[in-house]
Structures are given as structure tokens and as C-alpha cells.
Amino acid sequence: MFCCPETIRDECPAFKYRNLPCWQIEGTYCKLLDYGQRGDSTDICWVCQVYKRYGNGEPIEIKHFGKGFNRPEGAISYAGRIFKEIQEVIDRTRGQAGAIIPVLQHAQRLIGYLPAPVIKTISRDLKISLSEVYGIISFYHFFSTVPKGKYVIQVCMGTSCYVKGGQRLLDAFKKGWGLEPGMTTADGKFSLETVRCLGCCGLSPVMAIGSDVHRKVKASELRDILTSYP
């Protein structure tokens, strides 16, 4: 299923009630993210990968109510907290020209990706058209509109790493884990990406996992490296 960060999964009813189709559950995290919603708006489901894959085209409607968590009054959910923080960033930078990119970066860092409701909010508050925002997001490699795995593996494909066998690492990932760049493992733990030069060329081939930089990586070491991540 979806590879949302653990803290989200702790709160989201879709995770708690995995046997039910998530688009039919009221108050799932994705629906809550929609600005000011109570959790019964299914706009996001129509474009969601999970529905597209498992929904079989059936009509989307909420069938399971009241399965949301019981939250003490006044407490903000994790989703709400995220929203509040993004709002603060927007307020801080609203006057600045060019604020859109730092705001998007901040949001991406918080959530791990940029879900549609977040993008809509940013577009609305910064008064930049949605098409322009999407234009920016699709231009820069760093932004992602799909969730990534818990750990993002970046295999460097800069010139030095390429010459020193970076391609072999990608081949090994394909052979051993069935992973190609852009894909995430089925258990949501690892996503694979290529990156063009991390700037550690003296130690090629280089691979980054999260903020750890691994150097002089041999294909035979991959299994040990990956298992060291819990």
C-alpha cells in the first residue's frame, strides 16, 4: 500500500482498517489534508494511485463513517500540525518574490512528498495559479508528487561514478531487488533514484541513503548495507 511516513500511519484509519478500501473510509489522512475539510471529500481519491490500481473503476463514495480516531477536543492531528507549519512558512515568506520554491521545499521535507491538497493550499495562499505551481514542481527533480519509501537510495550517476561502475550498482538493484530508478520496494522501505553527482567524486562509486553517504560501494556489499537500515 502507500508508503506514508510512520507518524502518519499511526494516526490514519486507512492503516488501521487495512481490510477496507481506503477511499471508502471517512477521515483518512489524505482526505484530512484537504484544507478545512472534515475528511469526507473524495476529490483526491479519483487521482490517487491506490484507487487507480485497486479500485477497478467502482464509484467512490464514503461507506465507513466514524472510523476516524477519537481525538480529544482542541488537539490537532498530525495532518493539522503539518498544515499549520506550512501556513507559518507561507506567512513568513509571502511577501518575498520567489517564495514558492522554498515553501515547496519545506513542505516536501515535512511530509516526504507533495500531496495534491498541499499543493492546492500553497497555490491558493501564495496566489499563484495551480498550473504554474505544477509547472515548477514538474521542472525540478527534487519535488515529488508521489510518496517515497522510508529510505531513499540515491545512486550517483555522475561522470566519475559512471566511469567507476555506478551502472553496476543499478544492475545489482534490478537483479537483487527488482528495483529500477523511480520505484519503491513493495514493503515501502526503500525507494531507488539516480542522482547526478553528489560531489564526492574522489570516492566513486557513491550512493546516498537518506543523509548517509556511502563510498566506493561494491555491488556485493549492497545487501549488507541495506539490512543495516531498520
Binding site: 520567489g98 521542472f139 561514478c161 559512471y162 560531489g199 570516492l203
Partner: protein
Amino acid sequence: MKPLKSVEELENLRRRAQRRLAEQEKKIQVKVHLGTCGISSGANKVLEAFIREVEARKLLDVVVLRAACIGICGREPVVTVIDPRNGKVIYCELDEHKVPQIVEEHLVKGKPVKEWTMDLDEPWFKLQEIRIMHNQDLDPLDIEQYIARGGYQALAKVLTQMKPDEVIDEIRKSGLRGRGGAGFPTARKWGFVRSAPAVEKYVVCNADEGDPGAYMNRAVLEGNPHSIIEGMAIGAYAIGNVRRGYVYVRAEYPLAIETLSHAIAQAREYGLLGKNILGTGFEFDIDIFPGAGAFVCGEETALLQSIEGRRGNPRQRPPFPANIGGGLFGKPTTINNVETWSNIPQIILKGADWFASVGTEKSKGTKTFCLVGKVKNTGLVEVPLGTPLGKIIFDIGGGIPGGKKFKAVQIGGPSGGVIPAEHLNTPVDYEAVTALGAIMGSGGLVVMDEDSCMVDVAKYFLQFTRDESCGKCTPCRAGIPKMIEILEKISRGEGTIEDLDTLTELAEMISTVSLCGLGQTSPNPVLTTLRYFREEYEAHIIDKKCPAAVCRALFRSPCQHTCPVGLDIPGYISLIKEGRFAEAYKLIKRRNPFPSICGRVCHHPCESKCNRAQIDEPLAINDLKRFVADYALEQGIEYVPLVKERKKERVAIIGAGPAGLSAAWDLAVEGYQVTVFEALPVAGGMLAVGIPEYRLPREILRKEVQEVEKLGVDIRLNTPINDIDSLFKEGYQAVFIAVGAHRGVKMGIPGEDLRGVYDAIEFLKEVNLGKEIQVGKKVAVIGGGNSAIDAARVALRKGAEEVHLFYRRERKDMPAIAEEIVAAEEEGIHFHFLTIPTKILGRDGKVVGLECVRMELREFDRSGRKTPYPIEGSEYRVDIDTVIEAIGQKPDTSFLERSGIKLGRGGVVAVDRRTLATDREGVFAGGDAVTGPCTVIEAIAAGQRAASSIKRFLQGKKLSPLVERDSYEPIDIPSQPPSEEEIKEKARVKAGKISMSERRTSFKEIVFSYTPEQAREEASRCLRCDLEGE
């Protein structure tokens, strides 16, 4: 810390900080270098270990400090220890476990642990000129250390003592050019912005550094961030009306962003950024803008777009950023590279003349280069502009590891180009590099060796620029994918020669019409690889071969692809693994008729491409082949190919060497009547008279030659041919010239006619033919190739007490097979390098000594080796009674003088490289007679190629560049990939050898064959690369 309010306060702070630093220098300083590479190698753990140890042992005279990276990237983690007794000592490749010993022996007892230190006299240190990198040993998080070293003095100077125009003048005098790649004179750019009529202007630092292979900006951002801040402040003052600056740092550099942010915050805290700096009323502040992963944002207008919160599409120029309407938010802006900014404070402080004291006329100053790729010492180096490329790669960089050959160096990232060996003497400056078709770029130097395919490299860079293209203009957006299409076609073996013309045309169009630098320079990799490596493209197109064995679609396994004969190596190795030796023998023999010979003397190019080398060592392919052949001989297993229906045409082959005999084999199988004419009394060519018996026993050679005769080939010994026409008159329809290269090249020094001076080939021939030959007690052999080594080892066995080999270059430059050189060293032959003889001294007509001179290596020649020059006054004399000259061989083609056949330089026969046809109809030539002295397997391959051409000729067909082979009856080859167990690290199986005393005194074969168990064990190491991709 309260902000500094005046220059006096800054000065006081500097003195205080200097005193502190001086106090620190009285102690033992341990500086742990913490750049990104260091940290990824465990430098933080090393730091903690030092802190722990020093604390635990209460060493009050030791101070452990954080420092930035000093560029010794390949050997991280690096630690510098400075103590009053030993001075500066640099440790490399440390880990936390080594720390206690260093603390104990060096810090406490005062003796550095030599085995872990670097030699500060080695070229890596001595040839660098450290200017930009001079603060890398400080802690970047402590502004006071920067101030102690003179930091912000330059800013104070310009604010109080110089007018803005004077600042620009000083920069102009220095000759500083933009270090981002284009090399535009910095003062001129600033001048444009200064003269633009606007009240709001900007300075921007381009720290996007997207070039793969370049990270020098990162080192400065992480190590010397204040130099950038100070530089930008000075620039802001010089230009005027600048109150804000931006640093655009790429997102892939988190540590750099963090360090720079910290530095900016500290600068603000100390009042060096913000309003009323140092009480002068000057206002300036800096913001960091992180990138988001787009290479094109390194292009200045795209960068500005990005800061303005837009897609990074470059803008049309004019208006230029320096003008109104063209800069950030429409205001005049200067965008300069990190290194450019970092140079500014030092130019102001030390003066333009100091800066311009190094460099070339048009390219002043130093430059940092990232030396990476296939080079021994990788890292960040700083040298004066104008330093020759070869010096950086070979002297500082240590050359190519693994005994591989240098192929090209890629400079300038995806906008740059490749530079081959013939241009290694090029001084690295803006003009010279551009003249070669590349660009300096930010200074990334990626070294490539024989295992890199230039077609693949061009494709790689184009894939990069295609992914990073912003898409705005058509030539780039649509043109680059088209170029990739063509390159992919070529890599698949489907290319045509016309494709190369299309490629060039496209490339030139794209570079002329594209909107921005990315598009304009994107074709450079294609244009430079085509310019310098056209034969490699042609090999892909015409021969369907990738010489570097990289383009996967063209081959099944790299070993087979590299073998000149194309032997199915994984095939027979897998049969050996299963114990099916007879079938293995058959598989080899039907493609290479001389497995016993090749298994002993081949120079095994296959092993140099064996993928197993990435795990442990390459497969011992030679030994395996030899085992199979010897086993077959022992067991009486024979392979006799089916000879086709007898044809009436007759073919004459001149020379019964490997080329002649393999051509004879193939033609005989086709049914033609073949006669081989051999001038010597024995068949085999160099195999019989050149290669000594201890490498190739006579019996083995005789047996494999006999098998050629069994096919009906008539080998006529003692029959030299003087006249080609007579052969045609006798009724032969085609002639193959395979006379080899047996004539020794003379040195041309006085004394060559003395008794006791031999030519190596003559010498070896006499010994091999069993003639008596006098060898003295002290023998000198001159040369460095296989014949020199053979002659030296034979002389030893013939009773010489001492054998000395003299070679004009260094050991690593010797063309002889590596194992042969090692064997000669083991047998006690003395090697003298960088020396040549100038005179042979004689008495009574006999050799008594040799006068030699020492050589020094200077500039590179076209082959990428340094040229030796005699050192004046370094002559010396050795006592010698025998001299064997082995400096080279030429073919003896004097018999072709009146035949009308064209000869090339050195007397080689001129032929079409692929069909082996001479310019006379029906006459073909191949082997050493065409290439000059080469190898056995290449001669065999030439023989097969000639046979294929002769066959077509006799059938009246047009000649083809490809070698035609019939398909063989299939042998069922095992298709089991290796198991997990078999992939684990395991050394090569070593065959047994005879004792050293036996070696030096007899001609007995030295290496034993594998036993069947050894063979199967070694065969199980094969990775079966041929099974992948099926």
C-alpha cells in the same frame, strides 16, 4: 558577541584571535578534516575517538580541532597533526581503531606512526600551489579563525581606503577571469553592472555546481565560506547600489548549505553583514537560496528565474543580466562563481601582481581541479593555470591504476569534451582547452582508461543534457534526443557511416542555434569524441565491435569480444567446469587451431577485460586453455575438421608463422590447395625461432604444426621466395604474405660491429635452432619488449653469470608481457631504467664494455608516454662482454621491391586494414609483416581474416570488411549461472612451477599444467557473463 563597530575593533579582534591561534600553535594540534567525503568515510568517528583518547589520558598539551576538507579525497579520513617537534604530519585512511596507537606513539611519545602518514615530498603536495584552498585547515564554523588569518581585512581596506572604481581596477589588473567555466573577465562584468543606471542592483553567487565530477565549489562552501561572503561584500561595494546578495546552492549539498548559513549568521552577529558594516555606513546582506535539483539552473539566466520562483528556463539575451531588465527582478546583476568570489579578498589584500604572478599570459592565477575517475590519487588539486594536463594526471595524480592504459581525460563536464593522449602536453588554460574543442568548465577532470568506450561516453553525456534540458528551445529539446537515437543505433551495431555525418551536422546546428549554454555546449562530447576517436565509432559501425567491451548489445561476454579470434571463452570454461574436457578442446580447436601454443604464450587480452577482476582476480584463461590442449595431447584426443570438397585453386603462403599457418588451416578446410613457403629450416615463425623453449617446448609446437599438415597443407621448409610473380607463373591464384618481422633494428651507435654484439632475434634463432653460440659472462640486453626479455632469460640459461637489461624508460612503460618481466626479475636479471647505451667499447675487436647515459623524462609523446632525453654529463661505463640489441624489429620485405606492392613506414606491407588486400590483385598480407612486431593471437586472427578475403576473391565476390566464418555443429554448453558460493571472493588457482635453480640453468618448461581438479576449480570462478541479458 557584539557587532564590530569600526575597523579598529576588527583589528583588535584580529590581534586577539591571532594570539589565541599562536597559543594554540604551541600545543600539539590534531586537525580532523570533516568535509562531506570525510564524514561519509567515518571522520566523525575518528574525531570522537581522538577527543575520547585525549580526554581519557588527560593530555593537556593536545588540542583536537575540526577542520575542513583539504582535498585528499581518495584517502579519507584525513587528519593533520602539527607539533613543534615533528612539524606537519598528515595521516590518511584512518579509522577509529587506529587512533589509540597514534595518540600513544605520536602525541605522547613524539614519534609519528610512519606507516599511516603521507609523504609530504611527493608530487601531490609539491606540485600544487595553494591559494584558494589556504584556509581549508581551519574550522569553518569559527569566524575568528578566519579573522585571525586576515579575514575581512580586505573588506575593511576597500571600505576605508579604496574607491569603488579603484577596486574594479585592481581586479582588472589581476586578470581574474570567471571560474565558472566561460572565463569572462570579472572586472569587465562588474564594470558593466556598475555603469548601468539603476539604484538597486544585486550580486549573486552561482554555487549550483551541477557538473558531475566537479565539487571544488563544495569544498570552498564547506571549508572557507567567509571568503565568499567577504568577496561578495567587496563586489557589492565596488559595483555600488548593491544591498543584497544571493547564494544559489544546489540542494544536493546539505552540508554546504548548513555551513554557509552558519557563516552568514556569524558574520551578521559580528556586524560584518547587515547595516552600517564596520561603522562605515555600508549596508549589505546575503541570503541563501537552495536549488531543487535542476542542472540548467547553473546557467545564469535560469538561475535568476529560479530565484524569482519560476521554472528554470533561460532567458533571451540581450538584455544581459548586467543591464537593466536582464538581471534579478529586472535589476542589473552580476553572477559569479564561488571560486571567483573566493579569490577577491586575497587579490585586494595581497595585490593584483601577486595574483598574476602565476599563470599564463591570458589566464592568470591558480585554479582548483577535481581529479577523479581512473587515476591513482583522486582529489582536489590547485595548480597555476597553464600547468600541462599530463603533469596533473600523471605526476600529481599518479597515473592510471591497475596497469591500464590512459585513453582520454574528460574536462568541463557535459559541456566539455574529451582530450586524448596526444594532447597531454596541453597547458590547462582557457584558450588552449577551447582550441582542442572542449571547455575548461568548472575544472572537473575525469580520467578514463581503455575500459571506457567513447561512443558510450558521448551517449552518457547526451542523456544527461537531455534530462536536464529545460525544453524551451527546439534545437536542444528535439535535437539532443535525435543525437542519442543515432548513438544508440551505433551502440547496437546498426549504425552506418552516413550516421556519423548526420551526427556532425546535427551537433553543429544545435551548438549554433540553441538559446543557452546548456544547449550550445551539449554537442561537445559528441564532437570531441568524433574528432579524436573516430576509429572507435567506425569499429562499432563497420566491425560491429566495441573495443572497450562496453556496448552490451554488441557482445555476449567481454572476454570473447576482446579476443582477436572471438573464441567462445565462457563456453569452453563452462565445459571444463563440468569435466567435459574433450568437448572443450573441440570448441577451442575449431576456432583457434593452436590452443596449446596460445595457452602458453598468448598475451591474454581476454583476462584484462574479465569481469571477475571486480571481485578478486581475473580468470586464468590462458592456463585453462593450456590445460585442455595438454590434456587432449596426453589422452590422444584429436580434432580434425571436415575438409570440404577439393577445389582446383591453389594458394601460396609466404611464411609459416602463426599468421601463415592459420590462414593455411582455414583455406585447407575450405578445400583449396595450399602451399606454405618457409625460408627457415623449421616451421612456426617467431614461435619456432623467437620464443624460447622454456615458454614453448619444441614438441608442442611441432605437434600443432603437424595438424596443419594433416589437412593436406604442403609446408616447404628452406624455401625462401624472392619474387611474387614467379608464384603466379607457377599457377597459384592468390598469395598471402606473412613473413613476420624478423629483422632487428640497429641502435646505430659506434661499436656495433665488434665481436660479441648480437641482434636479439638472430641470437634467439641460433639458440632455438640448436646452433652453438658464445655468450660471455656479463651480458647486456638493450630494450624493453618481449624479445629483450626472451633474450635476457635465454642468455642466463646459456651460462651468463650476470645479465643486465637496459631500458630507456621506466618499468611501467615496458611493452613486454607483465608476467615475463616478473619472471625475469625472479631469475635475477638486473634491470636498469632510464638509461641507454651511447657506445660499445671494444679491445682487439671484442666487446669489453658499454658507455651509457642516464635519461630524464620530459614532455609526453603521442602515445601518452613521457619522452626520454639524455641528461648531459651523466655518462657512465659498465663492464660487459656481450651485447644483445632488442630495440625493435622490422619485416624483411626486400623481396617485394620489384613487385609493385606498396610498402609503408619501416618496410611493412601496406594493406586495407579490414580486407588485408594489398594494392595488387590477388596479393594479401597480414601479421607482423603488416603491423610490425605484435602478438601471436593477433597474427592468428590476421591469418583467418586473410583466408576469408582470399576465399571471397577466389569466388569472384567483392571483399568484405568482416571475417566470414561457417557455422559450427553446436556443442551443448551448460547454461547454469554461478551460485552464490562461487561468487564469493576466492584467489586464482596457481599452477605449479619448477624450482628456481632448474629455471636458471635449463630450458625446461617452467610452468606445469593444471591438474584436472585445479582446472575445474578455477573454471568455477567464471561469472558466465554470456548468460546475462538472455
